[in-house]
Amino acid sequence: MTDDARLKLRALPDDARKLLAPLVETTWRFRAAATVLGAIALWGLTAYYLQLRFGLGRTGLNQPEYWGIYIIDFVFFIGISHAGTLISAILRISKAEWRRSITRSAEFITVLVLGFGAIQPIIDLGRPDRLLNVFLHAQLRSPLLWDVISIGLYFGASTIYLYLPMLPDLAIIRDAGIKAPRFYRFLAAGYRDTPAQRARLERVIGVLAIVVIPIAVSVHTVIGWIFAMTLRPMWHSTIFGPYFVMGAIYSGIAAILIAMVVLRRAYGFHEYFRAVHFDYMGRLLLLFSLLWFYFTFAEYLTAFYGAEPAEMRTFWAKVRGPFAAPFWTMVTCCFVIPLALMCRRATRTPGGTLVAGVAVVIGMWLERFNIVVPTSVNPRFEFESLGHYLPSWVELSILAGTFAGFILLYMVATKFFPIISIWEMREGREASVREVAERVAGYLPPEPVAAD
């Protein structure tokens, strides 16, 4: 980067200077990490090429284990994608003031991870060359098609929901002229931050925030329904819709927490991600760990109590059979660890939330594994209960490649866009204190007027 850009950066006001610094400064650590991640992603691409060339036989899938890592990743990534849009929308609507530094990074997770999630079923297709059949010969009875629709909608909505609130920041970058002027001029699309524009923008964001919530809920509900609409033991369950939505939000919060801790360290955003953010997000995580336990318990108790033989084969396979290890690891990661760490203020620190977040992300991946695989290898027709599943190196490479690709893209995004909203911070400083005071005053009975 040029010294010119540095000079221009230095001339900016405090928030903008700090938050735009990653756009002009790139450390060797970043380059090293990007190289490694890029290599892994390329490796994953190579593996996919092999699978494309020779067939899905390159995976460890078989009969009756028709679905494996790819579908697990699909559910997992789409789940993570609930991080941003949904959480930021909820926080925005509920006027949680502490959201201001968090929303942007969360929304980026959504848009990027959604792409990586959406390609998973395509990777899983036997005939990706016939993908267009899904549109040419769409059969609306199939939950898979509902999914195509809701994910498409969600992707569109969340991209807009990421882009629009970024407009003022893009205008700031354009005006500062620190980087690729034409690029930012195009993206800023003539936004001048006039009061009229600002007011219109805020109105649109408010509407979008409301619209995006039902779409987000529908996405993971429908993914849950993909499983629930079949007659398979421990899939055919009405709880799956809400269970999946809850799990998605849970894993999303964990992903945001990890991103916050990493961004805070990597870009020195200590002043923006403060103890209170971790404390509040930690509380949210705590709430969801309890919710997760409630849902899981309800789901398993129902299956256990009904004791239908077909269901029980899957149930016991998870609880004390060949899948006991992933099952109990899941319980530990999704419930025990986050509960233990997040129920005490002393551990709702960046370090504590990082540990809990990582545990939840791992646990939620395992949860999807525990939903997909044990049921697959224990089909209802019991003669076929000879199933087994060992992912092949191709699947694991694609898994690693997808993770690496997502992280890499996220890193690159932080180099082009402020990962913390500049204007929302400024707005917070300028307007919010007064607004909050007024709001709080509005909650209370009016102060008695002194009798004169």
Partner: protein, 183 residues
């Protein structure tokens, strides 16, 4: 919002104002699609002999079944082998170079293998028996004016696709069940 709509209108107007840009894009589109279709279709079918259908079917009034012997009974109608040609071309017929070549081949006993022109994908269960033998369809219903050609066409005169089959099935009230034709 109104402002963005106005902006969009302006942009469209700008593009309209410069047909050159539009033309380039359209040309590129055409070239690419054309290339793809050409590559996908391949070079076409070449026959070992420039067989004159018109000569045989119109001038000489020979029946299709004479050379395509299984057209009423087989799945595929069959193509004439050298023996079929030899029925007449033992001695040179006519004056063309191709006719002389056939006679030469017959004399030498060298095999003559015609190439298939109209091809169906292998997942279609189609029999000529059903359509010609039982259904009494005319050859030209599906093969167009092949009988009037004077040179072997490189590509089918009629593109036989599922829609083509279904149109006829619909018109004639025949089955439109998938597995009636897909195997």
């Amino acid at each position: 919002m109104g402002m963005r709509v106005a902006w969009l209108r302006r942009r469209v107007a700008q593009v309209r104002a410069r047909p050159g840009e539009f033309g380039i894009v359209a040309a590129a589109l055409l070239v690419v699609s054309g290339a793809i279709v050409a590559v996908a279709q391949g070079p076409g079918v070449a026959q070992p002999i420039a067989f004159n259908h018109r000569k045989h079917t119109q001038d000489l009034q020979l029946d299709c079944e004479l050379c395509h012997s299984y057209v009423r009974t087989g799945a595929h109608p069959g193509l004439p082998s050298l023996e079929t040609c030899a029925m007449c071309h033992q001695a040179t017929q006519g004056t063309t170079r191709e006719a002389a070549r056939v006679t030469e081949l017959v004399a030498q006993g060298r095999p003559l293998t015609f190439e298939k022109l109209f091809r169906l994908p292998p997942h279609v269960f189609y029999t000529h028996r059903r359509h010609v033998g039982i259904g009494r369809l005319e050859c030209r219903n599906c093969h167009g004016n092949i009988a009037l050609t004077t040179r072997p066409p490189a590509r089918p005169l009629v593109k036989i696709r599922m829609g083509f089959c279904l149109d006829c099935h619909r018109r004639s009230g025949q089955t439109r069940d998938c597995i009636a034709c897909h195997r």
